[in-house]
């Protein structure tokens, strides 16, 4: 049998992912997380009387802390498994990715384990985040010269 024909058999038996259901769950969970973030933002700016930029930083730190704590306590992987993109796309997912890698390599030493592997999952996010930020910034500045 040719490989192309075999791939047809495989395709016939490959189940469809429940995209709609997953999207709805991610939308609701992600949205709910956004509401919590916004609540924290309002709370911090009112309670500490700071600008919304400073309150925003505080809110992000809080969510990162909670993400890390819940990963460490062993709940977060099950929540991510259920809510998928609703939890791993927001900043909590970034914290979770770093913390789960850190926990994983704890037993392989501070430098060769934690240091070398902490960014195993999150490293790509940082690299391509910086590269795309730079690119867009360049476009914006260049366009700004002409307008």
């Amino acid at each position: 049998m040719k490989k192309a024909e075999y791939k047809k058999i495989v395709k016939r038996h490959t189940p469809k992912e429940e995209r709609l259901k997953n999207s709805i769950i991610a939308f609701i969970v992600g949205g709910f997380l956004g509401v919590i973030g916004h609540f924290l933002l309002e709370l911090y700016s009112a309670a500490f009387n700071v600008s919304s930029a400073s309150a925003s930083a505080l809110m992000i730190v809080t969510l990162i802390f909670l993400g890390c704590l819940l990963t460490g306590l062993g709940f977060f992987d099950e929540w991510v498994h259920f809510s998928k993109a609703g939890l791993f796309i927001p900043i909590t997912g970034f914290a979770h990715a770093m913390m789960s890698a850190t926990l994983e390599y704890k037993k392989e030493g501070m430098v060769t384990g934690i240091g070398a592997n902490m960014f195993k999952l999150a490293g790509s996010v940082i690299i391509f985040g910086v590269v795309s930020a730079f690119t867009f910034c360049l476009i914006r500045v260049t366009l700004g010269c002409f307008i």
Binding site: M1, K7, I9, P15, G74, D77, S100
Partner: protein
Amino acid sequence: MTFKYKNVYINDTATVVGKLENEGPLSKYFDKAELDYYVGEKTFEEGETKLILESVDILLKKQNKNIEDINMFISGDLLNQITASSFAALKLKTPYLGIFSACASSVEGLIMASNMIEKRQLKNCICSVSSDNDCAERQFRYPVEYGGPKPLTTTFTVTGAASALLSRDKSLIKVESGTIGRVIDMGIKDAYSMGAVMAPAMADTLMMHLKDLKRDISYYDLILSGDLGRYGKDILKDYMKEEYNIKLTKYDDTACMIYDINNQNVYSGGSGPACAPLVTYSYIFKLMKKKKIKRVLLIATGALLSTTTVNQKRTIPAIAHAISLEVAE
């Protein structure tokens, strides 16, 4: 390449499983369950070694033997450089052969041991394999605590170790013949669809076995594949039909038997070197001892990939080895 054996028997077996396998439908057939993910050790890897040692220990106790009575220990697992097996061999202090053909390692070990026993090079031999879900997750996929979503075709690496004692001493389960398979690659690149990767290798070995022994498929009461999973099983059935015009009827897949695949959170079923022998040495041997089935062909399938080859977008080759087990008259 098929070998026939006249005087090789599986005298006894021992199975140790993890938490999820113990919650599955076959739990009452296993010898021991380890509910702690670390098996009481410091790391997952040490835990996997302990699983092997425990299964060997149970096996020796069942047969009233000491480890000094054993001529050779053959073992394989999924860890890089098969360290779970080697570290177990260090403790056992027997002559040791470490083997790797991924999830087909169990049958590879049985064939090697059977050949040496048949030729009287060995009096007896213990064949073990192990796999550990947490070890496999961190080596092949994501950190254990990450829990990221995976496609439905994913298989779930079984936690457990299985050991068998082979010798010329007559007992109920006879090793009748064994076929060493070829490496087959049908161009599948998806490491989350192992059933699709391995089904053609399974079919190739099955056909070679039948051809070498001039046998019809109806000779066997049951044909078992190692770990194709729910979807791989259907792919194999269609492939056998279209390529060889053979309808697989008395056939099952150990990946679908070890877990309750409809209710346990294991995607399309089990996988790992321990999957096939855990089911065979416990449940299937029980059926054979009750003489409900007499001739079983176990074909363990393995995907020969590494994270490097997958990241380099290479296709995934697969292998399958077959062993024919019969109730001795």
